[in-house]
């Protein structure tokens, strides 16, 4: 039964990710006075791509073809670790937050290799930029996550969320810092403005798009899907760690349904905030990204310090 729910949750993750992307696109369209596409447009795009024949370059090695599958499955595995609608599931109990970060790194590694594999200038450039950013973003992310895990004295996300739930509403300065840090990291990692612009193919600025420039057909569909999944994963992380209320602690149908509604509501709100931020902020120069991520790291560090100084028991 538990495993069933765990599988259901992961399926929900995978299934809902394009919906979130669609909602985000819609919000941005409203804000920018454009006509919005249907909410289901990402699904249609994926379907269209899957039906198309993939074109693969002659120079491509086996890695290029296998990479989309590896990336997608690694991201799905990461999704199993993160509690979406319920805590205390067997999948999330078996792996902790460091494993999740590891899955992300694994996926990114193969994405970068795939970018390099084809030998075009853009692919290599994108890979190099991606690795630069991730090497800066990862410590910041871990710092923010450690703040949480130190509070809950566990690195397991599921237990940590239960811990936060049990304590009720406690205002923690460390969480405020960690939240900001995690938001900044999430923006960088999912390639949103101001770090990267997912809607442009302007050669000077693109990062993520540069690496997948040579992909087409079902390969492209998988990579797109994986990045939508990643966006949702970060959204869920932020929503469920800092505002876990609503998540199901028992496996009754009522609680699970309520949990689903709650997380969808939270994600919808987060997407609106993200859309507003993306509309207001301009993309920054690539060389400013290190400052930005340095700031995120500083916030994460401050979060941890303020946990030790302000909150820890003496």
């Amino acid at each position: 039964m538990n495993w069933l729910i765990a599988i259901l949750q992961t399926t929900l993750f995978v299934a809902l990710a394009p919906l979130l992307a669609g909602w985000l696109k819609r919000c941005k369209c409203y804000l920018q006075n454009r006509k919005a596409p249907s909410l289901l447009q990402p699904y249609r795009d994926l379907l269209k791509l899957v039906n198309k024949q993939p074109v693969v370059s002659e120079q491509a090695s086996w890695l290029f073809i296998k990479a989309p599958y590896i990336i997608f499955s690694a991201t799905v595995l990461a999704a199993t670790v993160v509690p979406l609608i319920a805590v205390n599931l067997p999948t999330s109990a078996s792996a902790d937050v460091i494993v999740m970060v590891g899955f992300f790194a694994f996926a990114r590694f193969f994405l970068a290799l795939a970018g390099l594999d084809i030998g075009t200038a853009f692919g290599g450039m994108g890979s190099s930029r991606e690795m630069t950013i991730s090497s800066l973003a990862e410590p910041a992310m871990l710092m923010a996550v450690f703040t949480l895990t130190m509070t809950a004295s566990t690195t397991n996300l599921s237990f940590a969320i239960s811990h936060v739930l049990e304590q009720g509403l406690v205002l923690r300065p460390s969480f405020a810092f960690a939240l900001f840090a995690l938001i900044l990291v999430a923006i960088a990692e999912t390639g949103r403005i101001p770090v990267d612009n997912p809607t442009t193919h302007l050669e000077l600025t693109m990062i993520h798009e540069a690496m997948i420039l040579e992909y087409s057909g079902r390969h492209l569909a998988l990579i797109e899907w994986a990045s939508q999944l990643k966006l949702m994963l970060y959204g869920v992380l932020i929503a469920n760690i800092f505002l876990p209320w609503g998540i199901a602690q028992t496996f009754s149908l009522h609680d699970l349904g309520y949990g689903l509604l709650a997380i969808m509501g939270k994600l919808a709100v987060l997407a609106i905030i993200l859309a507003i931020a993306e509309t207001l902020v301009a993309k920054m120069r690539l060389f400013r990204v290190q400052e930005y991520l340095g700031f995120a790291y500083l916030l994460g560090l401050l979060g941890m310090l303020s946990h030790i100084i302000l909150e820890a028991a003496r």
């Binding site: 406690v170 300065p173 405020a176 810092f177 500083l298 916030l299 401050l302 302000l310 820890a312 003496r314």
Partner: protein, 225 residues
């Protein structure tokens, strides 16, 4: 001290302390004057909120007055005045190249540690919450000074000066639930007069050296050059 065991008021105060400290750090690393002023206004707003929370939870009416005073002076009047000055002198397009940014930030961090060190003897006799509040306000003061040292624009100096006042004010609110009314009114009056005087000084400095870069104020030496 475990934060879960503290009451809600203490939690708010601690969070505010952390955020006020953060705004000080943000100001320290800020080369653009308009953003600097904005951060200063945010800090003022945090102070206003802290004061209002303290007033509410302690049911102390005169703290409401100081909250309103803070709002009027530090969130509205002074930032407005500084902003006008920046726009008038066309400084909002300049980004000040801060020398030794990294060293300054590290210096800021060590100042924070230093304030905890200085105030640590207090912890034996009072609650750790007070230690935190006092240490944060002391470090806001010290960071304000560092801001004045590391920036060259007169406007940044004024922001630093006023953020020192902010730190003091935070200590007064949190540690002692506000000073007696007469003292607080006096301090607010002094801040107001100081702000007006700074306005006058900007005018004088600009008419005398045709810039607001205080590094050009270097005519007076111990010995003739």
């Amino acid at each position: 001290m475990n934060i879960e065991s503290q009451d809600f008021y203490t939690q708010i105060i601690l969070s505010m302390a952390a955020l006020v400290g953060l705004t000080s750090f943000l100001m320290l690393g800020q080369g653009r004057l308009l953003r600097l002023i904005f951060m200063f206004a945010v800090q003022g707003l945090l102070l206003t909120l802290t004061t209002a929370v303290a007033a509410y939870s302690l049911n102390n009416h005169h703290l409401y007055i100081s909250a309103v005073l803070t709002l009027a002076l530090k969130v509205i009047f002074i930032p407005w005045m500084l902003r006008n000055e920046v726009l008038k002198t066309n400084l909002h397009r300049d980004v000040e190249a801060l020398a030794n940014q990294t060293a300054v930030m590290l210096g800021g961090a060590s100042l924070m540690v230093f304030s905890y060190y200085v105030l640590h003897p207090i912890v034996q006799t009072t609650s750790p919450v007070m230690l935190n509040a006092l240490a944060v306000s002391l470090s806001v003061m010290l960071l304000g000074m560092l801001l004045m040292i590391s920036h060259k624009q007169a406007i940044a100096h004024v922001v630093g000066f006023m953020s020192i006042e902010n730190g003091l004010f935070f200590a007064a609110i949190v540690a002692t639930k506000g000073m007696p009314m007469v003292v607080e009114l006096g301090i607010a009056f002094d801040v107001l007069v100081a702000a007006v005087l700074f306005g006058i000084f900007f005018f004088h400095i600009r008419s005398s050296i045709d810039s607001l870069d205080v590094d050009l104020l270097n005519k007076l030496h111990e010995v003739d050059k």
